[in-house]
């Protein structure tokens, strides 16, 4: 980080996801003197235009922040607004939201592993090239991705910007026969998910051991929609207390804010969740984890892909378990009466904790909003990792190799700028 150029802030941040990134590194005498992961995704000012909108418009609006994880945005938003209004949607809604979320994890993780990350490890420029050499593996990944999309469509009509979620629950309960049909296909895919875990575990990964706090939700089950905010340094907070320990600062080279925990970079996402919640994995997934020999907690960010594969398996197991007991409810949502208030929501987006806060007036019009996406939280950690990994490799390595390594490090975090890290410009100035 560029100390001295940070600016402390006390206004809402913008949730800005994906987009184009660049890496700029300056080095002198074998040491990095300056390193910047530049994110220049144009701001879309969601937090600003949510102000003045009605509470019931928020789920459809915030979905548009991210095409890959719209469910996460909807789930953090409805949780925050329900907290503001004192609404408890009940067990059926909680269970179905978990399944809905499982769909997004499946889709997003499978997309990341196969279309974005895996080609690095096999020397291909893209998944489409890799489909030539590894047709079965790539197709298996696409099938898992499609099943995730099907789960989201079951609850929301479509996988991108689904229309089924509302504050209080769902607009419509899926029909039992549609659930039964999908349940059978999800169950049939469990062996494929287990094979994916074994395949990822067999990939020869670079060694790296780094020291950083992992931050994730922690509760009664492997976290998606609920839990307190926990960290490997012992932190334990209610989501409403997030602002007491975490700070966001603006840096000149990024339109995303940098977040720190007690002034230090930290990790969110699949590996952080696994580091904190391995004891809450479903039994079948825990046994697969044992098979892989992965020692936890892990300080090797390259384990992110395996963590993602394990979470694909866990999500599938959970969706099969919950949908196996499916019953249609009398009403798929709790009635909501807006009140003036403030509410907080934190859920585990595929890429890590997604934190929302909304304030409303007595008629439920949004008067203030703040959204902290996972990629902003990982940014400082990514820069820290890049600095260590590139120096460990040696800065006299050829530019091409350093560029590839830098891109690979960034992709470990599945930033919502993954699309753009393929677009990485590496500028290396050697002093």
């Amino acid at each position: 980080m560029s100390e001295g150029r940070q600016v402390a802030i006390n206004v809402p941040v913008l949730a800005r996801v994906e987009g184009e990134g660049a890496l700029e590194v300056a080095a002198e005498g074998g040491r990095i003197t300056d390193l910047r992961l530049r994110i220049y995704e144009p701001p879309r000012l969601f937090e600003r235009f949510l102000v003045g909108r009605a509470w019931h418009e928020v789920p459809d609006a915030v979905a548009r922040i991210c095409g890959i994880c719209p469910v996460a945005y909807q789930m953090s938003a409805v949780q925050a607004l329900e907290a503001a209004f004192g609404v408890d949607p009940g067990d059926w809604v909680a269970a179905m939201r978990r399944v809905f979320y499982c769909g997004e994890w499946l889709q997003s993780h499978a997309l990341h592993i196969h279309l974005l990350a895996a080609p690095d490890f096999f020397g291909y420029a893209s998944a489409l090239e890799m489909a030539g050499g590894y047709p079965e593996e790539v197709r298996r990944g696409m099938r898992l991705q499609a099943l995730g999309n099907e789960i989201m469509a079951l609850f929301g009509g479509r996988a991108v910007h689904p229309v089924g979620a509302r504050v209080g629950g769902f607009h419509r309960a899926p029909a039992a026969r549609d659930v039964a049909d999908l349940h059978g296909r999800l169950e049939a895919a469990l062996p494929e998910a287990a094979d994916l875990v074994r395949w990822c575990a067999a990939i020869d990964l670079p060694d790296s051991s780094q020291d950083f706090p992992s931050v994730a939700l922690r509760g009664a089950d492997y976290p998606m929609n609920r839990g307190r905010i926990a960290a490997t340094n012992g932190l334990d907070l209610h989501p409403s207390e997030w602002e007491t320990c975490f700070r966001e600062t603006q840096v000149p080279h990024s339109t995303a804010f940098h977040a720190t925990l007690d002034g230090e970079p930290y990790l969110v996402g699949p590996l952080a969740r696994l580091n904190l919640n391995a004891d809450n994995l479903p039994a079948e997934t825990a046994s697969l984890l044992g098979e892989t020999g992965l020692a936890l907690p892990s300080g090797n960010p390259f384990h992110g892909m395996l963590a993602r594969a394990l979470e694909i398996h866990a999500a599938l197991v959970e969706a099969v378990r919950i949908l196996g007991d499916y019953r249609e409810p009398d009403c798929p949502y709790a009635e909501v009466t807006p009140t003036a208030g403030v509410g907080y929501g934190a859920t585990e987006a595929p890429r890590g904790i997604l934190w929302h806060r909304y304030a409303t007036d007595a008629s439920g019009i949004i008067t203030d909003s703040r959204i902290v996406p996972p990629t902003a939280q990982n940014q400082a950690r990514i820069e820290d990792d890049l600095r260590r990994t590139l120096e460990a490799r040696g800065l006299d390595a050829p530019d091409d190799e350093l560029r590839r390594l830098g891109e690979q490090v960034i992709r470990n975090y599945d930033p919502c700028i993954s699309c753009a890290t393929h677009f990485l410009d590496l500028t290396l100035e050697r002093g």
């Binding site: 220049y40 144009p42 235009f49 420029a125 893209s126 479509r158 419509r172 753009a420």
Partner: protein, 266 residues
């Protein structure tokens, strides 16, 4: 366009200000994506891997709106390099949900969000691609789906102009047998002024359409607005309803201006 006599047609997918959701219309195609990559040369599609943003192509798909000075310049180069330019999704066709800032002081909004707005390169407005360069085909929808993009690719490869979608959401509801949520439940549905293409998803889920596929031809939003007032919506509620995903283009967004405080009687 005509497929080149030798070699496969070349296509590119460009991203501007957006959520990336419309690119998923390609990335979620599964087996069809592999097949597509065999039928055409995908020369630029950063999220999928290939990067060559300045390459000349037969078809350029453009996702996202123009929201920065750099994007203003970049879209000119995309246009110059493309035989056919196709916009995909709300942002590229109308400026998208982020065009809500056009109704306000966009520069002030930036200052509200960023402590140091000078570090951030941004225009005060978000606008669709057609406000900047000639567009050959527009695929509306927030998001567009795989069926729309594949139909467009097929049609363009065969040199046939794609058939535009003209029906309103209401027509799909009638065909599919959905109960009208406006008439039967009094929900403020935008189906009567919205073009279909989604498959009338919202009414199928028992809820009101919010217009994500954009304004229909010959829409009468003022008449619908009066109906919504009859349901108990305040004028500002109607205005907000009309100004959501597509506030910056078409008859419905324009009606939003008339229904808002500053607009006077519709």
């Amino acid at each position: 366009m005509t497929p080149p006599a030798s070699g496969k047609p070349r296509i590119a997918v460009h991203k501007f200000s957006s959520c990336d959701g419309c690119q998923l219309a390609f990335l979620d195609l599964g087996e069809d994506l592999v097949r597509l990559s065999q039928m055409v040369d995908i020369v630029h599609f950063a999220e999928a891997g290939p990067v060559d943003p300045e390459a000349a192509v037969d078809i350029a798909f453009v996702e996202g709106s123009i929201a920065t000075p750099d994007e203003e310049a970049r879209i000119q180069r995309v246009r110059a390099n493309a035989g056919t330019l196709v916009t995909i999704g709300a942002c590229a066709t109308s400026g998208g949900i982020q065009a809500l800032r056009n109704l306000h002081d966009g520069t002030q909004w930036l200052a509200d969000v960023y402590p140091s707005p000078a570090y951030v390169e941004s225009l005060a407005t978000s606008t669709g691609i057609a406000e900047h360069v000639k567009v050959d085909l527009e695929l509306w929808g927030c998001p567009v789906n795989g069926r729309q993009v594949l139909a467009a690719v097929r049609a363009l490869l065969w040199g046939v102009p794609p058939l535009p979608q003209r029906d309103k959401v209401c027509m799909d509801c009638k065909r599919d047998g959905h109960v009208c949520v406006l008439v039967s439940q009094g929900q403020p549905c935008l189906g009567p002024v919205t073009v279909t293409g989604c498959g009338a998803l919202c009414p199928a889920f028992g809820r009101d359409c919010y217009g994500c596929y954009g304004p229909a031809e010959n829409a009468h939003p003022d008449a619908l607005g009066r109906r919504l007032e009859g349901l108990g919506l305040l004028r500002e509620d109607v205005a907000r309803r009309f100004r959501f995903i597509h506030s910056n283009r078409g008859a419905v967004g324009e009606a939003g201006q008339r229904w808002s405080d500053e607009g006077g009687e519709p």
